[in-house]
Each structure stands twice: as C-alpha cells, then as structure tokens.
Symmetry: C2
Subunit: 295 residues, 2 copies
C-alpha cells in the first residue's frame, strides 16, 4: 500500500495523458468526413428514423438540391413553356428498341486504334455530356481532352507507376515470379495510342463572387451521370473507350494538367476507334428480370 501510494502521482500523470488522448481521439473521429458529406458541412441528427433503419446513406446534408429542379436559384428564374417532341406510341417503341440496340453493343475496349478522330465529333460528345442534370444546376464538371503525345505519355507514366505498385502489393508472393503475367496488367499502352484521353474532373466546390467556397453537393453523382451520357454519345458515333477511375493518380494528374485545387479526377477515358484486332472478354449482362422489380 505504501508502495502504491508512492506511485499515486504517476497514476495521476498517466490519467491526465489518457484524458488528453481520449479528447484527441474523439476530435479525430469528428474530423473523418462521413460518406455523402464530403464537403464537411453541418449534419443534423434526425430523430425520426428508428435505429434499425439507419444506414450509411442516411447522413447527408440537407440542402436545396435534394430535388434537383427545386433549387432557390431556379425559383428566382422566370418559367417558360416546355414542349419537347412527342412521338406516337409505335415510334416510341421503335426508338426505345433502336437506342437499346446501339447501347447494348457498347463494351469496355482496351485495344484502341491510333487512327485520328475528328475533333468536332469529340466536341459534340462533350457538349452532349454537358446536358446532364446537376445538383442545383452547378454543372460541376471539367472535361480535359488530351491529344498532345507528350502529355499522353506523361499520363501513362503516372498511371503505370501507380498500377505497378498496386499489382505488386496486392498480388504479393503468389505472383512475385510471374512478371510476364503481371506486366500485361499494369501496362496501359492505350494511354499512348488512343488519339484522345478524356480526363473528367468533378468540381467539389465553386468560388462565389465574394471569394468564399460554395460546396457542390452531389458533385460526384452529377459528374457520373454526365459520364453516362458521354458514354452513350461515344457509342452513338462508333467510338470506344474503357471506363477507369484512377483515383490514386488524381493529384499527380491534376498537377500535370494544371487544374485548380477544387477539381478532383473522377474518370480517365481513352477514346478512339477500336483496333482492327480488338477483342473483349465474353461477358454477359444480367437479363431484364434480374435488374427490374415491378410494383
């Protein structure tokens, strides 16, 4: 007991350190951004939902762009009549079938021809991507179109360096001697060969006239929707690409392309005609009944 009492000041000191650590720890937890709140905005805890209903899509900023047509910016604008083309039922069916047929031929293709592609076609494809809806009509996308051979090669070096680390680390001992096989995986020749590389950046925030940042909610979803429309536009003209999300190369590629800090790389698409000997894996798509639920 006498021995313990000598140690009491030590315990007090340790106790102080512990309390400090807990404090730091709890602050760290607060600072880890949660899914759907990348802007680090205030999140309200909502009492209405039962705990067992909670899931990770629950914690989300409450903002005016939940319904993308409902933003305050739009409310202040005058409304104009809207009457898009109306097709007879038979024509609708035909158009829906034709578009499906075109899109169903789309495949991710890594064997891309070096043949040049008209720049005006690429411009129209990007114009089309720019028609996508976006949260509060922020249009939070930048499409960087790279045709300069030296820049394409720099991009290839950055992506391949990353991929090599990736393949070596994750494959580990099992594959360490099988370099020939590995090589085919991290080498991305198409990054040199394709006439265009499209690097699609999401703008995570905008800059207001007063210099303050304005968070772009749903910027990733918006830009991904835009990419879907872009893929449709490419397929419509007979060009091919492969969807890649080289997120770990983002900052290096952003610096290479001199994009500002509010832009983050979302996708990298090599674009061109398919090579004459292009092949694709013999994949099947799920049938309609596996993806649709009728209520």
């Amino acid at each position: 007991m006498a021995f313990l009492s000598v140690l009491t000041p030590v315990f007090v000191a340790v106790l102080c350190v512990m309390i400090g650590l807990i404090f730091i720890n709890s602050r760290k937890t607060d600072r880890v951004p949660r899914p759907e709140t990348k802007g680090g905005s205030k999140v309200e805890s909502r009492p209405w939902v039962d705990q067992d209903l909670q899931d990770d899509t629950e914690i989300t900023p409450r903002d005016e762009d939940d319904d993308w047509a409902d933003s305050n910016e739009e409310e202040d604008l005058p409304h104009v009549p809207y009457s898009p083309p109306r097709y007879p039922v038979e024509r609708m069916l035909e158009r829906s079938q034709d578009f499906y047929s075109v899109m169903n031929q789309r495949r991710s293709v890594r064997f891309i021809s070096s043949e040049p592609v008209p720049r005006d076609v690429i411009d129209n494809v990007i114009r089309t991507a720019g028609t996508a809806p976006s949260g509060a009509h922020t249009e939070p996308w930048t499409f960087v179109v790279v045709s300069d051979p030296e820049t394409k090669h720099q991009i290839r070096l950055i992506v391949e360096e990353e991929e090599e680390v990736n393949y070596r680390q994750r494959m580990g001992d099992k594959w360490v001697n099988d370099l020939a096989r590995l090589r085919t995986n991290w080498i991305k020749e198409y990054l040199d060969v394709a006439p265009y590389l499209l690097l699609i950046f999401k703008q995570t925030y905008g800059i207001l006239p007063n210099g303050k940042k304005k968070t772009h909610y749903y910027n990733e979803i918006s830009v991904s929707i835009s990419c879907g429309i872009l893929l449709a536009a490419l397929q419509n003209v007979g060009l091919v690409t492969v969807t890649s999300t080289p997120l770990n190369c983002g900052p290096q590629l952003r610096l290479l392309l001199k994009r500002p800090a509010n832009e983050k790389l979302l996708m990298l698409l090599p674009v061109g005609y398919p090579a004459s000997d292009a092949t694709v894996p013999d994949l099947k798509r799920k049938p309609l009944d596996d993806i649709i639920v009728r209520v």
Copy 2:
C-alpha cells in the same frame, strides 16, 4: 498523501476504464467509413505522394476494378473479337450533332401528365440503363418501377414528410409565416400523378455463394453512370423526369418496397409525358469553352 493512497485503487479502476474507452474509441474511428471506401475495406497509406498533394480522393481502396475492364473475373473469360459499326466521318459528325440536339432538349420537368405510358417502352429504357459499365462488372443496380397508385401515394407521403421537415428546419424564422410559398416546395404532386416512379437502388455489396459479403467498389459511380444512360434513353423517346436524390427517405422507401439491406436508394425519378402546360425555369447551360480544356 495518505488520503491519496486510499484513493489509489480508485485511480487504478479509472485507469482501466479509460484504457477501455480509448480502445473502443479507436475501433470506432476505424469503423467510420472514409469517402470512396464506403465498404470499410482496408486502406493502405501510400508514401509516394507529398502531403500537399493529398486530397480526399486519395484514400481509396486498391482493388482490381480501378480499370473497369481489368478485373480478374474478366481475365479468366475467353476473349472474342469486337467490331462495332463504323461510320464514315461525315456520318459520325451528323450522328454526334443529332444526338446532342436530342439531349440538349432534356430538362428536369416537375409537371408530368397522368397519361399512361407503354410498359414496353419503360422496359426498353431500363434494359438500356443495364448496359452501363460497372466496377468489376458487378452490375450493382436494381430498378424498381412503381405503377401501383397506392404505393405511389405511400412514397409521396414519405417524401413529403421528409421535405416538410427539411423546409421548416432550414428556412427557419425567415419563412415561418410564409407557408403558402413553402407549400409549393415540399408538395410533390407528381409522385401521385406520374404513371411511373423509378426508384434506383445501388447494391452496396453482393452475397457470395458461400454466404459472405462481397463489397461492390464504385457502386455509386456505376449506378450514377447507369442513370445517365437511363436519362438519355428517356429523352430519346420523349418522356420527361426530374432527377431527385431523396437520400433521407432511403430506409423508409426501401422497407416500403421490400428491398434487401444491401440496397440503398440512390435516385427517385417520376416518369411520364410532360403535362400540356408544363413549364421549366429559363436556365442556360455553360458553353462548351467553359467545360472543356484542350491539351
């Protein structure tokens, strides 16, 4: 000192509790999913990148689906020749212009006609959405097509309840007496009126044959791309919608529609013909030069 030595066992006890708390706290921190790693997968710290290059897109799972055509599943499949239709340059230009013209007429429309829409057209639209690429070809989407009036009404009640809370809370005192104006915002008549409501769920993980969970990386991006193609398919047949992301209603709507726990609501799209007196805000889109960067 004697007083303190009496308290020593208390300090020891407190110390144990503190250590326990720190342990729990640090585990909690680990369990908070980071952006881009919603599946809570292992994240490697990467030493190669300078601290000042770090941004929130950096921390991402290293997995085989960085390049969406590179998955191991695909590697094991036989390759088949791929030769999509090839158009002459003039025809490409024409097709790219025509598709842009169609898509550029798309607007988010909240005034939807109750007129019935052929179910086969909706089926083709969803088939088309199902042609989207996805990380490791997981096809992580479920399209719930609601035409049952009672279910549509239940959906409306859930969404409006959320919206009302939202509007009341965020607008606060400034608008508290202006209920007439508020009312126009949280009332979503189109949820009853539109012949179809499409609720698009992302499958955050799959179930392997052995019963274990398989994280679907990039499921949100994949499903958003699919939604972009879906919006293109709707526009192509002259139907309208408004893109909404009612994430706070997700769990209630998921239970209403009896979807499993691995599915999270990403979007809700009311679909139909535009009402004869439909209007849209007089928005402009950014010109090409504001969204494209040529290198």
